[in-house]
Symmetry: C2
Amino acid sequence: MRECSLTLTSDPHSKTRSTARRETEQRILDAAEQVFAEFGFRGATMGQIAARADLPKANLHYYFDTKLTLYRLVVERIFRIWLQAADTFDDCDEPREALSRYIRAKMDISRRFPNGSKVWANEILQQAPVIQDYLETTLEDWTNSRIEVLNRWISEGRIRAIDGRTLLYMIWATTQHYADFNHQIHTLNKGDMLSDAQFDLAKETVVSIILQGVGIAPEPMGEAS
Amino acid sequence: MRECSLTLTSDPHSKTRSTARRETEQRILDAAEQVFAEFGFRGATMGQIAARADLPKANLHYYFDTKLTLYRLVVERIFRIWLQAADTFDDCDEPREALSRYIRAKMDISRRFPNGSKVWANEILQQAPVIQDYLETTLEDWTNSRIEVLNRWISEGRIRAIDGRTLLYMIWATTQHYADFNHQIHTLNKGDMLSDAQFDLAKETVVSIILQGVGIAPEPMGEAS
DNA sequence: TATCATCTTGACCGTCTGGTCAAGGGTTTC
DNA sequence: GAAACCCTTGACCAGACGGTCAAGATGATA
């Protein structure tokens, strides 16, 4: 109603052609991510995606030729976000700092991009028809290198002797749970989304249990990032 | 080829009518569970389920009138299994024993019935169209009562002061991860299923990290069930 | 063997799906 | 202003979908 320099669905005609194009593509990708997150590749329909993007179905095929193309592009966005979180682990060789940073980063991603995580979950449930080779290359390499780091920390006596792979899976499972199962979490929270305070409590509880679980004393006060 | 006293798809004609009927229904339910687990309700097709049960599609509709009926029955089976695991927590008031029993039970269920867990995951991803009222009643009641128990243990100084709800979510997320994401886990295990030894290591590592995480000293040797 | 209920199945139906297309509206360029 | 290009869209298509049905096969009963 009142003047606003930036609206979510701004009028494409007020922009240059390429800008408008990018915005429309983005709107379609966002709608696609939501629908794919909920119903998976097979369950999602182009009609649903078109409705959520508020565009005629034929328009989707003008920008993205097939449903599979659109799906692949949605999945690619998720890779980039996941890799960004991986960096927070790689950047540090101090167990407490590396683990708590990584957990917090993954928790924040689950909160900000729940649909990305859900699309990933659907991919795995469907035996990874699109991301299989990614699992076998990038993910496997990263995982193995992190397990080596964890094993080194163990041999240096900096963390307890636990199975590093299982620890990684616990962190992935728990952090992604806050995205993939957010509907269940909301239902068990009287139907409301988690408040900032509730989410912070969850985040710090996860950090605390994992750190304590691998034998690292609780973080000194005031050191949380 | 050679004589075999028990085959997986035994000849229905050698049994009484009601027995054969029950066997056919079971075969359809098993096939349905697999397909629903992979593709969710919308993504699954009756044709796929029929093919996996090795029956003509029309035969499915003789035993179960609609796709939704079949789906509801599959979901009901999962409820029963889940409640059975819940009992292992309820039966005991000793933190170490209750938590490790519950975690082990949930891990074993993830291994034996991965499809059930996957159907549940798909339900939540799709905003629980079928199990919503179950989440709001049985699950919520059980969750709250367990959180009360955890809080009592905290006030009695038997476990560390952590947020009980987050602890429960961590346990659910981690244990169900071994079912819902088993494809990813297998891929990261050179494409092989986890061996008994690998799965036991994972199970005991989860127990160990959680127990240590809530401030319970590692289990005395030889006490594992 | 004859009768009847139970089970099986290929063929079929209306609807929805992903994808196409041609006609037309807008915008840029000269 | 007109030609060229970009974008939008309703109408349409072939195939797949959930579900139906009637005809026949099979098994139980007597």
